[in-house]
């Protein structure tokens, strides 16, 4: 009897150790690629990043070729991509944030209504739609229908449709984390419904809402496929939303297609990754600060 028990315990301890090593190995396999990517980007891309990288538009092939041939760093930068991204993200946010917030609040307030669950499942479907298809939709609606040509506006629309389900979902989730007592407190003071939403519920859940918005931003910042069909890309800085525009991920694609500019690929990617990463970290630090939800 004693023997059997001891045997059993020994075997279990062994199995425990084996499993522990398996888990450690798995985590190493997961993080290794991330480190490799970061190291690769820094080694190959950091050299190019200086002030003019942010203030100058992308170089032409000839400039890049001579610079590479002479072993110098490639002149020019990603300014056209930065302004393009900024404008498109701004328009997309202006469209998607209010719409998404309102939809999310509606879904939360009318949880059980059939129409609400229909909208909720539509939002879920929208989240699963491949981004290139949203690009095609924006191409048909805006590029062919409205601006009669590739435009920043079309890109913005495609991006805003991508943001929408993320914001709707995070809004509904955040709202449902507000204790019902807070709503009742407002109600017991005779506060009208819309004031309860704007003066109590939204301020109370501000950090959660901000997190959702930031996550949706970091999601669309790297989107390339829908922009290829809509904003197309442009070598110049343009503030005209009816004209084609560049964006940072589009520039990366352009750089990649030019054998002389490979180094720019690394720099632009490094910048984009750091930017998106900081957005993610920011949203995490905001959501950590939540006290009452």
């Amino acid at each position: 009897m004693e023997n059997i028990l001891e045997d059993n315990i020994r075997r279990r301890a062994l199995r425990n150790r084996r499993f522990k090593w398996l888990v450690i190995a798995g985590s190493i396999v997961t993080v290794t690629p991330i480190f490799l990517i970061v190291i690769n980007l820094i080694v190959k891309g950091a050299r190019q990043i200086n002030l003019s990288f942010f203030t100058e538009t992308s170089p032409d092939t000839f400039q890049a070729m001579t610079a590479t041939a002479n072993g110098e760093i490639i002149p020019g930068g990603i300014a056209n991509g930065l302004t393009g991204s900024l404008i498109m993200v701004l328009i997309a946010s202006a469209l998607a944030i209010p719409t998404g917030l309102m939809t999310g609040i509606y879904l939360y307030e009318n949880k059980k209504k059939r129409y609400a669950s229909f909208i909720r499942s539509l939002a879920e479907v929208l989240q699963g739609v491949p981004s290139i298809i949203l690009g095609i939709i924006a191409y048909i609606w805006i590029v062919k229908g409205l601006t009669k040509g590739y435009s920043a506006l079309a890109g913005s629309i495609a991006l805003s449709i991508m943001m929408l389900p993320i914001i709707v979902r995070s809004t509904e989730e955040t709202m449902s984390m507000i204790p019902v007592q807070i709503r009742e407190a407002a109600f017991a003071l005779g506060v009208p419904y819309y004031k309860m939403i704007f003066r109590v519920l939204i301020p109370c859940s501000f950090s959660g809402l901000a997190t959702g918005v930031l996550l949706s931003l970091s999601r669309i910042l790297g989107e390339t496929a829908p922009l290829m069909l809509t904003a197309l890309g442009s070598p110049v800085m343009s503030l005209n939303v009816a004209k084609p525009s560049s964006a940072v991920p589009l520039l990366i694609w352009d750089f990649y297609n030019d054998p002389n500019m490979v180094n720019m690929v690394w720099s632009a990617s490094l910048f984009l990754m750091i930017f998106v990463l900081s957005l993610n970290l920011l949203s995490r630090s905001i959501s950590k600060k939540r006290k009452y939800i």
């Binding site: 204790p179 007592q181 009742e184 407002a186 109600f187 003071l189 109370c204 501000f206």
Partner: protein, 254 residues
């Protein structure tokens, strides 16, 4: 304390779904400037009854309320919500100060959230008066502009009472206001309720019999949605008429 009823409940029934009644044709009158305790085991409908008095059930469309409640002879269902809730304030089981507001803002929330504009001096007066009457002023006067959620549980609950009385209501509804608090905070709130009784009519839901015995003037005993017995607390505790009241008071169930 007077013998005039300030509130009369007439044949009130409340159902959460068709045919299932949480409160069954309850009629009662509540005396002015008294503490009336509503007791009963869990699920007896005492909170449901209390929440009908300031029409809290309107927040949930599935709930059906029939019968009438009259405040000084006037049906509460004919009053605009904001006016009704200025007359009947409510304090909840768990302290629920608005987490996005400071102590100061919480006290005047009833005014600011309803778009009632006040001068700074008026607001200062209301805040000081309300916080003094809940004996919180000395504890928080240095931190009026910190978030209300930084206070301790007992302080938060007193803050919520201050928020409710800042409107100067006639009636204060209290839904198990001490059940989430420790004994010291509880006794502070109980002392406070005794003080508040001089200016307000208090309706207190409690599952704590000794609390009802300690502080209430009148008591109501509810069981399975029905009002079984109502009377002076002393009479009800020493000489209950109904066998179910006696069984509850002697701890046979509940």
């Amino acid at each position: 304390m007077t013998d005039t009823p300030i509130l009369t409940i007439e044949n009130l029934s409340i159902s959460y779904e068709a045919g299932k009644y949480a409160v069954k044709s309850v009629s009662a009158s509540i005396r002015e400037y008294a503490i009336t305790a509503i007791m009963g085991p869990s699920g007896c409908g005492k909170s449901t009854l209390l929440r009908a008095i300031n029409r809290m059930h309107e927040l949930y469309p599935d709930i059906n309320v029939t019968g009438d409640i009259k405040l000084n002879g006037e049906s509460i269902f004919s009053l605009p919500a904001i006016e009704l809730r200025r007359k009947i304030g409510m304090v909840f089981q768990r302290p629920n100060p608005f987490p996005n507001m400071t102590v100061y803002e919480n006290v005047v929330a009833g005014y600011s959230l309803n778009g009632i504009r006040l001068k700074k001096s008026q607001r200062d007066d209301i805040v000081e008066k309300a916080l003094r009457s809940v004996t919180l002023w000395d504890e928080v006067k240095e931190s009026l502009y910190r978030k209300g959620t930084f206070l301790s549980g007992g302080q938060q609950q007193r803050l919520c009472i201050a928020r409710a009385i800042s409107f100067n209501p006639k009636i204060l509804l209290l839904d198990e206001p001490t059940s989430a608090l420790d004994p010291i905070a509880t006794s502070k709130i109980e002392d406070l309720l005794g003080e508040l009784r001089k200016e307000y009519t208090l309706l207190l839901v409690t599952h704590n019999m000794s609390q009802a015995a300690r502080i209430s003037d009148d008591s109501m005993f509810m069981y399975m949605g029905e009002l079984i017995e109502k009377g002076h607390t002393e009479t009800l505790f020493t000489n209950p008429r109904d066998s179910r009241t006696e069984a509850y008071l002697t701890g046979k169930f509940g």
